[in-house]
Amino acid sequence: MTLLHEQPSERYASLVRGTAFGTWLVKLAFEPVQRLAVLPDELFAPPGPLAWLPAATQHALIGETSLCALRILGALACLACLFERGARTLGLPAFLLIYMHESVVRGYGHTNHAEIPALLAVLICAAGATFRVPGKYPEPLAVALVLLLTYTLTAAHRIAYGGLQLFLSDSIVYWSVHRAHFVDSWQLGLGEHALSWPWFARLLQVSFPVVTLCELVAPLALISRRLRLVIVPGILGFHVGVLVIMNILFWQNAILLVVLFLVPDPVALRKGNV
């Protein structure tokens, strides 16, 4: 068994760093976070360190100008971090700006789990560039491990607390139908048909435990090529599935998975480790 991304090339590590910062660059450039300024201040409940700030500071932070500034500075920092030298000097500030952006958005809604591995990937790439040992590029493996661990945590909790009862019930059909009914960004909503297509409901019920098992052992995809052939399609299939069925898209996770598992590293290819 060989370890995936054990000794990645500089070019591949640059690709992973570019993906980590690039997804946030796209998000900050195209998502108009400043529109949140029209929402009532009293509904703003920021998480973690942002909640410790005085109310006046919090209020100033969620103004339209501040959010615009946060967006522009964050995007510029991410742009600089696409390059090794930029990541070394601006990696931490970029992470802090993205963290602040995410805290503001989180303050108006619930945790968006899809964005957390991408957020941590930025910090890992910044640390990798800052503490670089010449010729060593440990970021791809560390990003992959953090990303895959989040699937393990989700699956372990589901198995321990949902138990057999969860997988034998038709809860997954209920969730699929329920989520498909909401008017949301994506209007694919295939889940609505789970009530009228019995084969589709059966497919959902069968795939639920299979995907959960893939999620549970996800980090082992890094050490076993055979498991990788099952786990990666299982998890990517799950992401496509929840998009077309429930209108939920973990796009940052999906992009990281594609880059980390489907884009070959030329050095690893030569060693036969892909």
Partner: protein, 175 residues
Amino acid sequence: LRLVLEVILIACVLGVFALRASVRAWLAATSRPFLVVCAILLAGLVAGHLSRNRGKAFPFVYWYMYTQPETAEVIEHLHITAITTRGERFELNGAHVFPSLGLGTFRLYSRLLGVAYDPLVADKPDARALLRGIALGYERLHPERRLGSIALEMVTTPYTKARYERRVIAAVELP
């Protein structure tokens, strides 16, 4: 017991991973400060999850998704309905007004569900304030379509896919 089972499952997966000789070789070859950062992140993820942290230690949060068995005879979901000053009635897609909250996520509806189901606040002032904000956001995007009113409706659909019913949770007449 469930927590113990959860910890065992996580420990087994991480243990199998960490005990590989290739992983230990990678650890030995990697710079210490970088490993410290990674160790903090991994420990934070596991600790934040096991402590069921929902926000205090963000981004180290509770990873709960589709965990509790759930079935019902009816499906309840929220719709935002708006009526323009010209009398046109339409479903307002909040995710399009606030992509930061809605792009492929459940954020806006989670907040709406929170205010809609809050049993302590019968007249839903938070829901009305949120609706006013959504209306303002919409009018800024579509200045040609002024809104006369906006309402948050609970749509109840029997699980057998029969007719649905609508119930207004909160409504706001706009100036």
